[in-house]
Symmetry: C2
Subunit: 107 residues, 2 copies
C-alpha cells in the first residue's frame, strides 16, 4: 500500500486520531494512551501498530515501558493533498472556476 493510502487509512479511526491528539502533548506509554478508552490493551496495541506502520508514531524502549512519540511527517503529505482541492470547497473559487470554464467554451 502506498504511503498516502496508509496514512488516510490510519486516520480513519477516531480512537487513532485521539491517540495522535494525545501525543501532541508529548510522549506517552501504552498504558497512558489506553486510559481514556474503554477498550482492552490488545486493541490499543493494534491501533498503535497501525499508526507505527503508517509512520505516524515511533516507539522507544525504556525498561518495561514502550513510550510512543508522534511523528507528523506523513501528515504533511495529507495537508498538501487536501490543499490541492481548496479551490473546489471555496465557493468564490468555485464560481470563478465556472466562469473560466464558460469563457473557455465560448472562446
Amino acid at each position: 500500500m502506498d504511503q498516502l493510502s496508509a496514512t488516510f487509512a490510519a486516520l480513519a479511526d477516531p480512537t487513532r486520531r485521539a491517540i495522535l491528539a494525545r501525543l501532541t502533548e508529548g510522549p506517552a506509554t501504552v498504558k497512558e494512551l489506553s486510559e481514556p478508552f474503554a477498550i482492552s490493551g490488545p486493541a490499543i496495541s493494534k491501533h498503535l501498530r497501525v499508526l507505527e506502520k503508517a509512520g505516524l508514531i515511533t516507539r522507544g524502549r525504556e525498561a518495561q515501558w514502550r513510550p510512543c512519540q508522534l511523528d507528523a511527517t506523513p501528515l504533511k503529505e495529507v495537508a498538501v493533498w487536501a490543499e490541492n482541492y481548496r479551490r473546489f470547497w471555496d465557493a468564490s473559487y468555485a464560481r470563478l472556476d465556472e466562469l473560466l470554464t464558460e469563457m473557455k467554451e465560448t472562446d
Copy 2:
C-alpha cells in the same frame, strides 16, 4: 460513523482518489470514470457509493446517465485537521516546541 472518519476512509483508496482527481476537470459519467481502471463496473459503482456517502460527490440523473460531480466541502475539514499538526512536521516549529517545553519544566 462521524464525518471525518468517513472522509478519511473514503480517501484511503487510490482508485477513489483518482476518481476525485478526474472530477476536478468537471462532471463525468460512471462509464467515463471507469475507463482508466481495469476493474468491473460494479466495482466502480461501489467506490462511487462510498464517495457519495462521504459527501465527496453528488450524482444527477440525465437519461441513462448518472453524472457525478465533485463536492469538496468535506475536504476542508481534512485540511483544517491536518493543519493543526503543521508545527509537528515543520522542523523549526518542532525545535521551538522542545524549547518551550524545556522552559516550562525549568520554570
